[in-house]
Symmetry: C3
Subunit: 169 residues, 3 copies
């Protein structure tokens, strides 16, 4: 094997490793949301997003860290946290295109049922995470959540997982 | 470090990276099912399987893309989709042997409860995915699902996760 | 590219690949728990832990393989298994520091509802897995589980995911 061949093989390997590192970092970003939201740790939740990141849920749209922090500290979310809740996120279906990525995944909001033993599945939500690679690592630019209660928007979100990667830049 | 040593080290690295790429591709195959099934996108669901792939559920066995597509477009599944549903798949326990792999994972079918707020866990299922690496990437040759309602077949499926890798070829 | 440059690049790549292999092995350890616990396979459950590993749940603390095996074979767990149950684990939020790691994740215990069709979410639990790389691969040294029923200990466990890595050695 000549030096040039070796250099080509190494460059090829380095590209593959870089891609796998991105995939790992995207998983790490998505999984960092779960402990933060159920601990009610507003600052840690906000760190999932870019500074001007958007969290667009059917119940309201939050723009930037301050509005996301306000939601976590607000009465509705703190009520769930105090009663006991688990935001369960399944593994996302991820498409990466260079320094942007889209993940599609469902999530469950499971809350402690204060009337008796056991828990209630209060929400099942379709999620789209639009992510970007920044100087500080991968961050969420926009997350869209739509309740899976039969509304067409939730199905469109799931069906369109490969759409809009260019728009995400 | 001599050229021969370097070549050996690089070959060794390339094998490890290839294995990690296979693991990533297997995750990607499994996670591609979720958005497709809950969007009711029959063609995207079928693409998870090889052309002659089998989806063997306790409620019926489907052979090949046409029968899988028929199930997704059928009244029972479309009823769930229209009411709102989430097929949640946990991360699989995966064993790879060259170009075949088996993943064992549970899944939940969560459906919108039209009588009131919240969702019902209609099914909890033990799943076995038998996968093969094809020219077009990893595909499912056979997926077996058995309801976790106490039937021994569901427990045997979970216990036998390392069995039958040779049969899967 | 000189030989020294190449050697440096290769060493750098090898470190990155080694890290990704550790991450994969940690996922494999965590996902191996699921099929074993719902199949009621006590020996396979115990293999998740080091020989002196601890499973500290709010309902009781188990020390070492024998006590873990006793729990799996015990009446409460076998009752769940015979009725049909699914311990669903979401993807963990993982922090690795050399040969120790901590994963934070929620889990659901979903059990077949013998009164009618469908399943009940009996428990939603905050989990902390403290793992160590041994001669036989990654193993769990201590897993802590606390019910998400509003008790502060469960929230502290989720909030403290980055704490105690040094203690874990």
């Amino acid at each position: 094997m000549g030096d040039n061949d070796m250099a080509t093989i190494i460059r090829n390997l380095a590209e593959k490793v870089s891609y796998l590192e991105d995939r790992q970092a995207i998983v790490d970003l998505m999984t960092s949301y779960g402990p933060a939201i159920d601990a009610g740790d507003a600052d840690a939740v906000a760190q999932v997003w870019t500074d001007d990141g958007v969290y667009d849920v059917d119940t309201g749209v939050m723009h930037g860290h301050d509005e996301i922090i306000e939601m976590v500290r607000g009465g509705m979310h703190q009520g769930f946290v105090q009663a006991g809740c688990a935001h369960i996120l399944e593994p996302g279906s991820v498409v990466v295109d260079g320094d942007v990525a889209v993940a599609t995944a469902k999530s469950l909001l499971v809350v402690n049922d204060e009337r008796g033993p056991g828990f209630t599945v209060l929400r099942a939500t379709a999620n789209r995470w639009e992510m970007v690679k920044t100087d500080r690592g991968w961050r969420c630019r926009r997350r869209i959540g739509r309740l899976l209660d039969g509304r067409p928007a939730a199905r469109r979100l799931l069906a369109g997982e490969r759409e809009g990667l260019d728009d995400a830049r």
